[in-house]
Symmetry: C2
Subunit: 378 residues, 2 copies
């Protein structure tokens, strides 16, 4: 293997592929990045056995002298390429056991790992994929991933339920105290509907890689291929594959209340800041409880921790449909995370009573709904 | 106590005084900030028993309604003032046990701590102080503090030796593997010479507070008052006091080699980057050893860790006075920290042989010298 490549191109792609590097290092080969150079270009891949990333750099960006392949300790190659200063990097495999890296006056020889140990994980792209616009996919993940469970006691709740129904894709997550559901509508019907659970943290890793992508690609699609226990996303030159969680996701349709008695509209940023201040005097240990009470055309947000002190703040209600007032308590942490993903200027809150879930909606997005369970304080 | 103050002014001063807050909380009162309001203005103070900070906000920045005093949990008052949004904050002591804080619609009541528990630590400003220009003081600390010892085995080495001699002030630090000495020359002779050891981390805390100060004050002086076991720095409205380390600092004059046989000049940034890259393949466990070898008009920097790989890079020597070449090994970590504080474009390295300390000088600052002990590799 022998080639020359632009430093920036190599670095960006190494950064992306390194998201699959294992930090735990239980299996040594999983700390490596695989380089495979053919006359078509360079394939970089890495895996922690949970996700697998493969990235292709086309021959147009590489001066290829000789094909070949090697596996290199990921953290060293990444740090080296990050710190060399010249525009071009020359890489050559020596005696099949050392990788020589030259850039400017710097000359590195890195020991290679055993190429045959590197796992071959990629699923086949045989079935017809589902096509999802890159921004729609980002929305599906950003608007639901924060609500996945971090506890391993019910593994399915650490995932996002990804479900299709004709032209509709629905993502749902819940940690059993709160819930987020986002839908998108496709132009074309999906041939074969799917219902799977994708690990939340892996789904976020993929979206983070997409964040670095050129914004000129904003209208491009992500291709989704589904296997029995893996899902493969392909975007441009990036292949991102993750395992699927086994088990069935709870049916959430019965959880969403129908008969809302109180509906109010608040300025989202103002409400966020009021909750943020009220949460200063709460503690994680006490579930960050704050109280929300409507009185006529305004609401009072308060919290009280006797050993520290108390706080109270008023916020104006922009619009209301209510026949009675509400007096309800909830976790400020959950409410802050819920409001953070609301994009409209206004957030809509709906209540039935002080024990039914609070419904949170984005004024400009009717395909998005969140629930938070109130906390009983009496 | 009752007053109204601009939020930004209060926040900046609370941020500064909070640098003395104890995180360890062994003595509860040390997590508090003391407020003392008189008709002259507001005094904020805090201490962790190691440092003591007192800051005065003049009456011109406060609308004073009633004098008074209170001690408040530092982290809560700081977070509250950070997160309120209006321009003005109103603060009132209620029943001597609660502090009421109002800003916009937000209304906080914080429990007070017992005022009588707060330690009275400030030394008297009776003797004539030493006056040091703020930038000179910053240089004395920044150019020496990185070389203090982090080990408590020889406590005096965790401090910076602050010594005066007539018009000269000298700061020295050493962890016994390296050394940094910076001198400044005053316009006037100091009446009574001093020789003390100031804890390195405390000295840095003071300099960090000065960093936030208005750069229009660049020509202002810091006043230094010295007591038997405390030193008090006064700058503008800030009083910063720290304990002095007892014991005597090692005599370093005999450590600085006189007969330098090799003197070379390198571009400082280039040299830093070469060392930085060579250090990628070294490990902390192996003392980050790298090798430096002169050959004619250039030097070769290299490192070799058999389990990972090796690296070699050439750098041009700008100017040299040498009758022989040097081949020497040292810690890349120490060299990087040494080069970071060199301000000139060129760094000067002087060697006697491969076992005597390496001398590092700033081309444009003849009052600054650093030493690094080489590492024997054979």
């Amino acid at each position: 293997m022998k080639f020359t490549i632009n430093k920036k191109i190599l670095l960006q792609n190494l950064n992306n592929v390194s998201r699959a590097l294992s930090n735990k290092n239980l299996i040594p080969i999983l700390s490596g990045i695989k380089f495979e150079l053919t006359m078509k270009g360079l394939i970089l891949s890495a895996s922690d056995n949970d996700i697998y990333i493969e990235i292709f750099i086309s021959k147009k960006d590489i001066n290829i002298e000789k094909e070949g392949k090697a596996v290199i300790q990921g953290k060293y190659i990444l740090e080296i390429i990050r710190k060399v200063e010249d525009e071009l990097v020359s890489i050559e495999l020596l005696d099949n056991i050392k990788l020589n890296i030259k850039c400017g006056n710097a000359n590195f020889n890195l020991n290679c790992m055993d190429y045959s140990d590197f796992p071959n994980l990629k699923i086949k792209e045989n079935k017809k994929p589902i096509f999802i616009n890159i921004n729609d996919l980002k929305n599906l993940v950003y608007k639901t991933s924060f609500a996945v469970s971090l506890q391993e006691t019910r593994p399915v709740l650490t995932g996002i339920n990804f479900k299709t129904n004709g032209k509709k894709i629905e993502c749902v997550s819940t940690d059993s105290y709160r819930l987020a559901k986002k839908e998108i509508i496709l132009n074309d019907k999906i041939e074969e509907d799917v219902n799977l659970i994708i690990p939340g943290k892996n789904f976020i890793e993929f979206i983070k890689i997409l964040e670095n992508e050129d914004i000129n690609n904003i209208n491009k699609n992500v291709e989704v291929y589904i296997d029995s226990n893996q899902v493969l996303f392909i975007y441009d030159n990036i292949n991102f594959q993750t395992r699927i969680l086994s088990g069935s996701f709870p049916d959430i349709s019965r959880l969403i209340p129908k008969n809302k008695e109180i509906k109010i509209e608040l300025n989202n940023i103002d409400f966020y800041n009021v909750i943020d201040r009220a949460s200063l005097l709460t503690s994680e240990r006490e579930k960050n409880i704050i109280n929300f009470k409507t009185i006529g055309d305004h609401a009072i947000i308060s919290s009280n921790t006797p050993e520290i002190g108390k706080v109270e703040e008023k916020i104006n209600i922009i619009k209301e449909q209510k026949e009675k007032n509400i007096d309800i308590s909830f976790s400020s942490k959950f409410m802050l995370e819920a409001l953070k993903v609301i994009e409209s200027k206004e957030v809509i809150l709906e209540f039935i009573n002080d024990i039914q879930p609070i419904i949170i909606k984005d004024k400009n997005d009717e395909n998005y709904i969140q629930l938070i369970l109130p906390i009983k304080t009496y």
